[in-house]
Every structure is written in C-alpha cells, then in structure tokens.
Amino acid sequence: MSAVPTAEADQLDRAFHALADPSRRAIVVRLSRGPATVSELAAPLEISLPSVMQHLDVLQSSGLVRSEKAGRVRTCRLEPAPMRTLEQWLAEHRAIWERRLDRLGDVLGETFPTDGGADEP
C-alpha cells in the first residue's frame, strides 16, 4: 500500500478529532459495551443533555457512532460500517445463489409442469 487515500485520511482525521475529547471518549467506551440511550450516556457524565447531544453530533459526523430514534427515545451504537462492507459482500454472494436457485425452481416449473393440486393435502 502506498500513501493513505484522501477519503480514508479524511475519515481518520474526523475520527481522531472526535476522540480528542474526554466526554466523547467516555461515550465511545460506553457504546463499546453495547447500545445506549442518550439519557443513559448522559447519566455518568457531569454535563447537560444538550452538551451530550453536541458530542453525539461530532461522533456521528465522524462515522464512529450512529443513532436511531424510536418514539421519544434515541438509541446510540458504535457504527460497524467500516467492517460491514465485507459482510455485505458475503451476504450478496449468498443472495446471488439464492436468486439462482429461485430461478431454477421457475425453470423446473416451466419445463416439468406438475399436476397442480394433486399433491396438496
């Protein structure tokens, strides 16, 4: 590998910036143990909810954390996206075979029509 590609360098810059703050590091460490709501993240930190939200914004724009809102509760988790690309590839590899075998079923049905209903319970 040669020089770090620009996009990757940008991502690292944002990640290191996000981690250059003790409150944000505390949030990341807490999320490394599992998802948590904003209030759960705020509880051990001696800072206001709005401050926690600002820290979360920085963490989210760095790509380290993502959050989802269900009703009035926002749940945060570490973002597995950088690892997910390979997982997605493997899932797609399997899905290609699933689709092929579905087509096989269609071709069998067209080529060897079965007596519809005869075998039904």
């Binding site: 590998m1 590609p5 996009a7 990757e8 991502q11 690292l12 990640a15 981690l19 003790p22 590091r25 505390a26 990341v28 460490v29 490394s32 380290l64 570490l78 597995p80 996206a81 950088p82 690892m83 690309t85 390979l86 590839w89 493997l90 590899h93 399997r94 075979w97 699933e98 092929r100 075998l101 579905d102 087509r103 096989l104 079923g105 269609d106 071709v107 069998l108 049905g109 080529t111 060897f112 079965t114 075998d119």
Partner: protein, 153 residues
C-alpha cells in the same frame, strides 16, 4: 494479507422429481436458462462441459462495467443424486474467492429436497474501496479497544 472463510447452506424444495431437478444442472439448454449471465450484460459467455473433470464458464460485464468471471470444475457427479464442483470467482480479472460446492438432490415425497452447501475462501483486495474501509475499520477497532482498556477508566 488475510483470508476470510465463509460457509453457507441453502435449501429448496421443488415439486419436480430428483431426476428432473438433476436434469436442470446437466442439460446445458436448461441450465443456461437459470444460470447463464443476465441478458442485459455485455461480453457475455457461458460454456458447460458437465462431466467429472469438465469445466463451466460464465462471464459477463455488469451494467456498472465490472467484468464477472465464474470458472468451475466438476469433481464428482452421481446421476440424480449429487454434484460437487469447485469454482473461482474473478472481478475485472482479480481472484476474489475460491469455493467448494456440493449439491445434493434428495427425494422429498414425490418432489425434491435440494441442499446447496458452499465452503468459500474470500481473499484480500476483494474490492479496493472495501479493502480500504476494512483497513480503516481495523484501525478504529484497535483504537476503541485501546481506549476501553483504561485511557478513560
């Protein structure tokens, strides 16, 4: 450099008999209909030599311009029961994975229970962007673990 092992099984039940299902693998005219490259793909080619030691080739360029190559070799064929083959998968000429696949065609009442099992080895450099992100992910994972070990304790 790394190798990612990936195994999976897919099962299907068809109302057709095992002999009929087997024919859809052995008869090139039938197999092409469900396995050949999509009609919309450019530079498409497909060849089947269905016998032990024989090979199969499926090549095509997807709408995004990536050339896909599937190159397989049949290792075992038991008429009406079992097919074993190994295949390479290449993207734009780069080896992405090597897999060993078994297909079992079992009687299931009047129909067929098909069991597809693959053992695959997926290689580094799968795709440039994926590999770069993967590397970044490992770095960030290491950082997270380092932080969790006490910097903030």
């Amino acid at each position: 450099m790394s190798i990612r092992q990936h195994d999976f099984t897919i099962e299907r039940r068809f109302p057709q008999t095992p002999a009929q299902t087997f024919r859809a693998f052995a008869d090139p005219a039938l197999k092409r209909r469900w396995f050949g490259p999509p009609d919309a793909w450019a530079d498409a080619a497909w060849e089947l030599d269905f016998r032990v030691g024989g090979s199969e080739l499926s090549v095509g360029r997807d709408p995004g311009g990536t050339l896909h190559e599937f190159r397989s070799r049949y290792h075992d064929i038991v008429e009406g029961e079992r097919i074993v083959f190994a295949y390479d998968l290449l993207l734009d000429g780069r080896l992405v994975s090597v897999s060993l696949t078994t297909i079992e065609v079992r009687p299931d009442g009047a129909g067929t229970h098909l069991v597809f099992t693959e053992h695959g080895a997926f290689f580094d450099g799968l795709e440039d962007p994926a590999e770069r992100e993967h590397g970044t992910g490992l770095l960030l994972d290491g950082l997270t673990a380092f932080l969790a070990e006490g910097v903030v304790a």
